[in-house]
Assembly symmetry: C2
Homo-oligomer: 247 residues x 2
Amino acid sequence: MLSKSEIGFIKSLQQKKFRKEQALFVVEGLKSVLEFLQSGYRIHSVYGTSTILPKLGKISQNIKLLEVKADEIAKISGLNTPQDVLAVVYIPQKDEKELIIEANTFHLLLDGVQDPGNLGTIIRTADWFGFKELICSIDTVEAYNPKVVQASMGSLARIKVIYTDLEDVIRRSSLPTFAATLGGTSIFETKFGTEGLLILGNEGNGIRPEILEKVSNQVTIPLFGAAESLNVAVSAGIFCAEVRRKA
Amino acid sequence: MLSKSEIGFIKSLQQKKFRKEQALFVVEGLKSVLEFLQSGYRIHSVYGTSTILPKLGKISQNIKLLEVKADEIAKISGLNTPQDVLAVVYIPQKDEKELIIEANTFHLLLDGVQDPGNLGTIIRTADWFGFKELICSIDTVEAYNPKVVQASMGSLARIKVIYTDLEDVIRRSSLPTFAATLGGTSIFETKFGTEGLLILGNEGNGIRPEILEKVSNQVTIPLFGAAESLNVAVSAGIFCAEVRRKA
């Protein structure tokens, strides 16, 4: 049985403050837990029901493994509909090496995306389209937020999310830059070539002017109807598809 | 000041049961309320603060208009961060005329989409790409769910959402059919022509087999990485962009 302090500890990881203090976050659901078990992430502990634990395969002895009842999972879960398994995972320590932007490929940059569902969906989309990492401005929503983890559907286990100064990344890279804006060249007429930085901005305000002025190509998904804008995760998907179709 | 019963009445519209009983739903935020005021929807009442009401322009005398304090709006709002204006809007009565599928254009069909955020985002995307309506299976999430209204960002005021038997729609229409699946022809190699039905399925299970067997083209967004699937709203966006770029 889970102790009160253990329940309190795991529940506290729903909050950013405690995730930062403990350098731990929570992953829920069989698919996502499996993806993290198979990834490079260090796992702290796994809580699962008797029916689900055998589905996890062989688990390293360094990982604390606990069989719990479904109603106990409900007590530590952050979901409205708790799943049968939950893992506590270490947040990777900051890589002190300088970020290297590879040539001959595309990179996705996010400037101030705030909605955790959007970030999670973009991580999943980046994973589908074969991106290796997501480069985010410091003020982008935190990738270990439970709603981000949930929306990423396990893709967070594969996609590195890096928080850094985007102006600096753009300044240091010699790759062509493409910013998603409302007043640029049609995406259907843009020649993306085979490499570049694709930049998408905040839900309400788009990309910051300081960043926009360093970008060489503003690209727009043409409007055929009357909506004021597209959701940022939908835009990211259309941009990813477009650079892959042309590659 | 709002009476207790008025607060209870508006709050009850957060629940499907009461929306159905009253044939009313709630729209929040200046942008969305303005879009509904300018649409063909019949408005029941508008609650706004003294600073926001002048921004609504001239309002028909048939609409009940109430100036309320911000803390009163918080009491009737379904949002975590309440906006300064909220409207109660009539759910349109079912149009008894048979649905007519126009030729020479594309139509978007949803089979069992369950997440309200996804449906709202698809409504917004359909509006961006100039679709006139969204044709949904009966078990698709209800369009007047507050989370759908919110995610649609006002586009629900323009896009007609129709709930009907999709098999019947496909049977009666002579337009080519394109289903988003994981095992079809690449979307980049598909010739969409100038008209057709685009069909997307449920988040977990995709399109029902009964429907899939009536569809002539299965179309897939190629996988370049390792994610198991794409979010349905992201897929819808990529499909919409693709048919518009080729049109």
